[in-house]
Structure formats: structure tokens, C-alpha cells
Amino acid sequence: METKMVRTIVITAVLSALSIVFAVTSLGYIPWFGGISITIMHIPVIVAAILEGPIAGTIVGLVFGLTSLLKAASAPTGPVDLLFVNPLVSVLPRLFIGVVAWLIFTAFNGKIKPLAVACSAFFGTATNTILVLTMLGLTSAIRLAEVIGINVNAVPKTLIGIAWANGVPEAIGSIVITLAVVFGYWGITKGKAKIAKEE
């Protein structure tokens, strides 16, 4: 492909479309212990950031945030989803996933590419988990306490618990999937992958 901009446009668009499909078919959310599903929705964001830079990552992150907002409003799966009907919780934190993932990727990008991709995936996921839970605590601690049925003072402890229970599996899943996808894609562009000759 000749122009960088065309490539950025199509890749960003396709990863955004993937985010929408994952959200709509609820493939992006895997039921997990404790009632709060773990998500793989941030993976397209990290892939976009690694392949096409921070702007692409931010746009896909925006799509992720908007789908999460609409999903929480239209088909909530639990009482906590109600609190995601707030752009400050569902959209704003997701804009930073791409930026962080790209920064980490460029910082580590040397001879060992798998390490750079893995670190990028890890820190991208951590950004999502930490920022979303922080915003949740900041904007609606009282409502969160009411909805789960705990004391307001116990909210920070509960949030840290959620961060460990959901963040760790999310990070592992994200590293595995991102590595596979990014190297699969680099295979396509070099013409080494089987998939490129299929059609």
C-alpha cells in the first residue's frame, strides 16, 4: 500500500467495526467469578495503537467507550452496568488506552519486538482497568455502595479487589491475543502468512 493515511483509515475503521461487533454479540464480555465480566474489548484498541499510532488508538478507544455506554444503557447485565451510563466512566478512560499502549510500544520497540508488544498490551490493559475503576470511585462512590449494598467506606477496598480479580486475567488474555494478532498482521504485510494467498 502506498499512502500511510489510507492504511491508517482502513485499519482504524476495521478495528472499530470489530469493537462494535464484539460489543453487540457480547463476544467481548466473558462471564467471570464475582458477577463482573472480564472484557477483551480493549484488544482492538491496543492493536490499533501498535499498528497505526496514538490517533488510531484513541479513535478505536472512543468507539469502545461509546459501545460500552450504549450497552450499559440498552442491555445492562447487572446493577453495576447502570453506573456506566456516564460518559466520564465509560468513554473518557478508554481514550487513554491507545495513547499509553503506543507510548510503551515505542519506548520498548527495539530488537525484541515480542517483548515490546507484550509490554504494550499489559500496560494498555492496566490503563483501562485502573482508570475506569478510579473514575467509578470518583464519580459515583455513593451510588456504587448503594447498588452493591456495601458501606461507602468499603468502596476503595472493593474496587481494588475488582482490579485484581478482573485485571489479571484481562492482562494475560490481552498479551496472548495481541501477540498473535500483531504478528499475524505483520505476516500479512510481508506476504508470509497463508491467509494472504487464500482468496
Binding site: I38, I40, A73
Partner: protein
Amino acid sequence: MKSIEFFRNIPFGQYIDNDTFLHRLSPAVKIVWVFMIIVLITGINSLVILLSLLIITFSLALLARINPNFILRGLLPIFGIVVFIIILQLLFFKPTGADIAIITLGKLVITKNLIVTLAGIILRFVDFMTVVTLFTAITTEADTVQGIEYLMKPFSKYSPWVHAFAMTINITFRFVPIVIGELELIVKAQVSRGSSFSEKKLFTGPIKAIKDYLPLIVPVIVRSLDKAMLLGDAMDARCYRSQGRTRYRALKHTYMENILLYLGFVLPVAVLVVSFVKKIA
């Protein structure tokens, strides 16, 4: 893959083709108004304003000749959750000192604060769904893209990315069915190889679910990226450039639409400021 039929079962996201003033209104105006109403919903605690927003949206829906039942149907899936929240609130709500008890049923005390909190949560929810459903019912996808481009016009002098952004959104909408097709293909391929991808994720257990997911997610993303490269080659072959493009039907605002556009920026800010000042005073 029953869940793929999701789009057809809910009214949310469906366009209803009527020829009314609201359908013909510039999409830029509609986007600004929807965005500002969402800001108001999340930023305001006053029940009166939330209720009046709901009434305004419903009267607009009537103006657009959209059956109110159509919007109400979109609210059905959240009904169970609302009941659940009401029960939780009843059980765990602690009445504070300056609170008026209205009904007392044994241990259950329903107070004024409790009712206000509940009404706030539910109204906010219903408001949000109504506004979004109404917007998608009166605006097509192509119109939405054109509206976004129009709103970002002031910035296009400085950056070629403005058109590129609108183009990205356009391709995103077009690519959703293609990605769903890829997904169905991969699911069938993996099932034919003996994978047991099931709909009942909750009952098979989380570990099993993740094992089922990996051979599904990775090929779908890689194949979609492959499709993206094909599209990119096609665009390059047709000499696509994002700068200096024109439209066959350019979006032009009438005097009235311009006024509505600026009102959409000014009114919600005014309401937010007034309510903030009231809170302090």
C-alpha cells in the same frame, strides 16, 4: 449464533423513514442536541429537569410521527434490572436524620429521600435510551457522517485528518456486516474442526469459555485486518486522497438551523451553570 440477530430484535438503532421536519433537519444540529442532552442527563440531579427532558423527547418523537410504543419497546430489556435495583435500595437504604418517612411496612421504611434517589436513577436511564433511540430513528448513518464532518469543518483548515476521521466512521459502519460474516465463517470452521463453541457461556465455566474464545477471536481479527488491506489497496488504486474533496449534495444550513445549532451549545451550558449556582447558594 443467535446473538448476531441482536440488531433486529431491538428498536434501538433502527431508522424510520418518515418525511417530517425532524427527518429533514440538518444532522449537525441533531448531533449537537443529542450530545448536549446526554451531558445534561449525566450532569444534573434535578428531577424536574430530567422529567421535562423526557417529555420534550417524547413530544419530538410525536412530531417525527414515531409511534411511542416503538421507543417504549426499547425500554423493556432494562425493566428487570430496574426492579432488582428497587429491591436492593429498599433493603440497604439507610434513612438519615432529616428524612420524612412516608410508608412504614414492618421493618421496611420508605422515605422521601429513597423515592427521590430511585426516581433519579430510573429517569436518567429512561431519558438516555429515549434520546438515543429517537436520534437513530430520525437520522441515517450517511447523514450522521456528513453531520460530523460539518461540525468539524472549522478545524479542517489545520488538519487533513478531519475528512479522514469522517471517512473512518463511514467505513466502520460499512464494515460491521462484513466482520459479522467473517465471524460466522470462523465459528463454522472451528465447529467443523471439533470445537464446541456454545451459547451457554455461563454454564460451561469461565476457563472453558476462554479456551473456546482464543481460536475464534484471533482469526477474526487477523482476517478482518486482511480485508482492510484489500480495501486500502482498492482505495489507493482509485487515487483516494482525503484533502480537497467535494460533495454532490453539500450540507447547507438555513438561517433557522444555524440558530438551533448555536442554541444547542448555549442552552445546556446555561442550565448547568444555573443549577450549579443554585447548589452553592
